[in-house]
């Protein structure tokens, strides 16, 4: 994938709506019932477009390399609204020629027609939350779609002309077997997608799953089983022509998500919407989390101001719940912790003297790839991939 010659800049757009909340999910998303009145799902995209205007004015309209609409369930607001958001982006930002435009979708919130509309509207990549083909696992995860819906949705997407399709898997769910995992991976392979992301189940505090685990109603995920299943997935996908490029991501040649790389290379992105995170030039911030709070802050930014030639930074800040200025040390820590999760690794030149010595020792032990290290790249060896966090901790000292 070739990019125009500028620092990558990306947009993330958060749609905080779901038809029901899955038991394991701690994302910033709400059902219509949870929201009550006050926030309109139908006109929510208009608020998002106004933030896009703020972003554009604030950053002086950089050219956009990738767009990712995530959630929640973006497809819940319909292909029209999603397409309008895309038009909004195009209105306020110049777009790279090869811009990657992804939306997330739930397998049961799309049909062939809708996917076709999205493709025609400009989306060129789609990511489905498939999680598993085992109905037991789907029930434990409290997913609403059937085991077969994901493969069907992926097929429709390809028929609609999506070049890039991703399927998300979750492994390690209590009650899941190794063979469930194999079945799920086979479905991904057979569906002809070019990207698979597989995550070990994490029981996040505050979720209904965490309550079930704490009360003993559900056993916690087993780390050894997770390790085994990661290896099963990795082996099967490699045999089918996929390669890992980050600990949880596999792609066929040309199928790597450019948007993902933005996060992992500490490039700049602006997150639009409630609870969305941004990172621009060493500053991280997060918007107000609740859609109603976010909407209220947005209302206070007058339309006229957005239309003005120059927008005061203070205007955008009204949307934010929290801002962090990263110190050089923090930037370095992030670089190491992000890069070592990726197959691309980290340039040896980014290490300080002590880290270099530790890396050298790791290379000797085979924890990091000695051949790559000799070439100036710190890359965790395939076999140590599942222990990447330990390597990161120890390398940072």
């Amino acid at each position: 994938m070739t990019h125009q010659n500028h620092t990558p800049f990306s947009l993330y757009v958060h749609i905080p709506f779901c038809s029901s909340i899955c038991g394991y999910c701690d994302f910033n998303t709400y059902t219509a019932q949870q929201l009550g009145g006050g926030v309109s799902q139908e006109s929510f995209h208009a608020l998002l477009i106004r933030e896009l205007a703020v972003a554009s004015r604030t950053l002086d309209a950089p050219s956009v390399s990738t767009v990712f609409i995530g959630g929640g369930t973006p497809t819940l607001i319909g292909s029209d609204s999603l397409t309008q958001i895309l038009r909004g982006i195009e209105k306020y930002f110049p777009m790279d020629e090869d811009v990657e435009i992804t939306t997330e979708a739930n397998p049961d919130s799309v049909n062939a027609q809708m996917l076709s509309q999205l493709r025609q509207g400009g989306f060129n990549r789609i990511s489905f939350g498939m999680q598993s083909v085992s109905s037991t696992v789907l029930a434990t995860l409290q997913r609403t779609h059937t085991a077969g819906a994901s493969a069907q949705a992926a097929t429709w997407a390809r028929e609609a002309g999506f070049e890039h399709v991703n399927l998300d898997l979750i492994y390690g769910t209590p009650g899941e077997t190794d063979s469930d995992v194999r079945d799920s991976v086979n479905v991904c392979i057979d569906a002809g997608v070019d990207h698979v992301a597989a995550y070990s189940l994490i029981v996040e505090p505050g979720t209904s799953m965490a309550r079930a685990v704490n009360s003993g109603a559900l056993p916690p995920p087993d780390d050894d089983a997770c390790a085994d299943r990661h290896n099963i997935i990795d082996t099967m996908l490699q045999q089918a022509g996929f390669d890992w490029y980050e600990v949880s991501n596999w792609a066929k040649p040309g199928g790597q998500s450019a948007h993902n790389q933005v996060y992992w290379t500490s490039a700049n992105w602006w997150g639009v919407g409630p609870g969305a995170h941004s990172h621009v030039n060493g500053r991280r911030w997060v918007n107000h989390k609740h859609p109603a709070t976010y909407a209220k802050a947005m209302e206070e930014i007058a339309t006229e101001e957005i239309g003005m030639e120059k927008v005061d930074l203070v205007i955008g800040e009204a949307l934010r719940a929290n801002t962090e200025e990263l110190t050089p040390e923090q930037i370095h820590v992030e670089r190491v912790m992000l890069a070592l999760r990726t197959r691309a690794g980290l340039s040896v030149g980014e290490l300080d003297a002590e880290e270099f010595l530790r890396a050298k020792e790791f290379a000797r032990k085979g924890v990091i790839d000695p051949v790559e290290f000799a070439r100036g790249v710190v890359r965790v060896t395939d076999s140590e991939r599942l222990l990447a966090d330990r390597v990161i901790r120890e390398l940072l000292g």
Partner: protein
């Protein structure tokens, strides 16, 4: 009529008495009430537990150091008396101090909670007092409590002392009921001190306390002669002489005087800085024309229980040393010498009178000196005879020799347990398990039993008290005194992590129990040691023989699943937190062991003996 002055008080009006009571039975409250009743302290300056000086004493309701207060008292008959109340420590660890306090008195108030009856500790001290031919005044306290059973416990006391139940006074120290009668009874029953005013001075040291500003304050009871401000004094067991800087009485604050005479109780200040210069039990005389024969009964304090104290943060070692040096000024029984542990770093092997003493020292180090400590499981002293006939004294289990031993001796105690009769079976079973030998059993009353056992001290040190309490729903009380040593078949159990012995975990146990002990510790550690990069075998061994083994499997997955937008800050913060957590890990060889694992394994139970 003014009250007699210190130094010129007729012994005939002096009454020296102490209060023998169990913790919580209201001794300090009764003392408070006496201070008020005699008019020594007015209501305005009164505070609870007036005589307890240390925070720990007040918080835990225990007396660690003896106190003595001079109470001028006008009897109901209108005569002026001097009552000297000598407060005594109330714990098994301080039996020797108790015996010296008792030796300074002619009478004892036996104070018992009317809702609970007598406890083992009190009984032991009572017997001590009776052996000294002291006048015993039995008192039931807390008669205002709804749960009080005065008739039942009066009968019990009468049975033990051999008096009539009607002789038992009924008091509520809380409300003040009966306090006046008690004071009158003391005047009536406690004999006046007898002594030879013209003989060379002899005074018994029953306590000595280090004061930051004044140096050591020595509490004495004059038996013969007089000690005056201008005298030079001699400590008879040490043969050292000191100039007197001050003589006085506590009433209830220090009041300097010209001197103190026969039968009087007061304090001496010489300017020495170390309580070891002024030892409890020693006899003070004058350097000039002094006594040739001491009062007798002096004993060097002997540490019975040992434990290694280590700073959590190794860099606090110098602070720990300074803190121990300071505590030692006020604690003649505390011993310590530097030791090094592979697992815990630099620390001190400390000797204590018992578990409470250990706990108090530890608590004072943490509280008064702000130190965070790890203490190794308490152990006793072993005497080992090698095949070659060499004798070795072992105070640290990791130094217990492993081979070619012909004999091993361990300290034993004579333990007294008082308990409701329904629990006799359970307690006998416990004592049996702990290698106890039954010496005797008596019914104090219909439903209260006294059990006497010989037990190895090591068994008591290892969570005996907690077990006793849990088997008797808290109703049993325990007292013990060292009676010597016995030969025993003991072995050292080592705990190995990844093949390396962790010295801090080594323990000396009876051969029959070594397997159970090994399994217990190994399983505890298996729960507590996090999975590491490599598989970590945890083994218990006697010498080269492995007796049990568990394995902490290698960690196989240590990576977060997701790392996108908002995950990045979160993950960075997690990394920063983990870095902090790493500081609380100790490296044992190549194995990371969390502090919690050390603490959990080293503490024989959640709570050690507090009462």
């Amino acid at each position: 009529m003014s009250s007699p002055r210190p130094g010129s008080t007729d012994p005939a009006v002096v009454r020296n008495f102490c209060i023998i009571a169990h913790i919580d039975h209201g001794k300090s409250t009764l003392a408070d009430r006496m201070l008020q009743h005699t008019g020594l302290v007015d209501a305005r300056s009164m505070r609870a537990q007036y005589l307890d000086r240390m925070d720990i004493e007040r918080e835990r309701g225990i007396t660690i150091k003896s106190q003595a207060v001079r109470l001028p008292y006008q009897s109901l008959g209108g005569k002026e008396y001097i009552l000297n109340l000598i407060d005594t420590p109330g714990h098994v660890d301080f039996t020797y101090e108790v015996s010296r306090s008792l030796a300074a008195c002619e009478g004892a108030v036996l104070l018992v909670d009317a809702a609970q009856g007598i406890e083992a500790q009190t009984l032991a001290n009572l017997y001590l007092a009776m052996e000294n031919d002291m006048e015993i005044i039995p008192v039931l306290n807390k008669i205002d409590l709804p749960a009080a059973q005065p008739e039942k416990y009066a009968a019990e006391l009468a049975h033990i002392i051999g008096c009539d139940p009607t002789d038992v006074l009924m008091v509520s120290a809380k409300t003040g009921v009966g306090v006046s009668e008690l004071l009158e009874r003391i005047i009536e029953k406690v004999p006046a001190p007898k002594g030879d005013a013209s003989a060379p001075a002899r005074a018994l040291i029953f306590d000595s306390v280090y004061d930051t500003y004044r140096g050591v304050v020595t509490y004495v009871r004059v038996v013969d002669g007089r000690i005056g401000t201008r005298d030079k004094i001699e400590m008879m067991s040490l043969g050292t002489t000191h100039e007197l800087l001050e003589v006085g009485v506590i009433s209830p604050e220090p009041v300097p005087s010209d001197g103190i005479g026969v039968g009087e109780v007061g304090y001496l200040i010489t300017g020495v800085k170390d309580v070891r210069q002024s030892r409890v039990g020693d006899t003070v005389t004058t350097a000039l024309r002094g006594a040739t024969e001491s009062l007798g009964g002096y004993r060097d304090p002997l540490p019975m229980v040992f434990s290694g104290l280590y700073p959590l943060d190794g860099s606090d070692y110098p602070e720990l040393r300074d803190a121990l040096d300071k505590l030692k000024l006020n604690d003649a029984a505390l011993t310590y010498e530097p030791e090094t542990s592979l697992a815990l770093g630099f620390g001190f092997r400390c000797g204590f009178l018992g578990l409470l003493h250990l706990e108090i020292v530890r608590e004072r180090l943490e509280r008064e000196f702000n130190l965070e400590l790890i203490s190794t499981a308490p152990n006793v002293v072993y005497r080992v005879i090698t095949d070659a006939g060499k004798e070795i004294i072992v105070t640290n289990p990791s130094e217990f020799p492993e081979t070619k031993l012909s004999q091993i001796f361990e300290p034993v105690v004579r333990a007294t347990v008082l308990l409701p009769s329904e629990f006799v079976g359970a307690v006998m079973e416990l004592c049996q398990q702990r290698r106890g030998v039954l010496l005797g059993m008596d019914y104090l009353s219909e439903d209260r039993v006294e059990l006497r056992y010989t037990l190895p001290l090591a068994e008591i040190v290892f969570d005996f008290f907690d077990q006793l309490k849990s088997r008797t729903r808290g109703y049993a009380s325990l007292d013990y005194e060292p009676t010597g040593e016995q030969e025993a078949d003991l072995v050292k159990v080592d705990i190995l992590l990844h093949g390396e012995a962790v010295d801090a975990f080594s323990a000396v146990v009876h051969r029959d129990k070594s397997q159970a002990y090994g399994v217990l510790i190994v399983q505890k550690l298996k729960e507590l040691i996090p999975r590491q990069q490599y598989e970590v075998p945890i083994q218990a061994a006697i010498g080269a023989r492995i007796i049990t083994r568990e394995t902490v499997r290698a960690v196989r997955k240590d990576v977060l699943a997701k790392c996108y937008g908002g995950d990045i800050s979160r993950k960075r913060k997690l990394l920063e937190k983990q870095k902090e957590g790493k500081k609380r890990m100790k490296m044992v060889g190549s194995v990371e062991v969390p502090q919690e694992a050390f603490i959990a394994v080293l503490s024989t139970s959640d709570k050690s003996a507090k009462k």
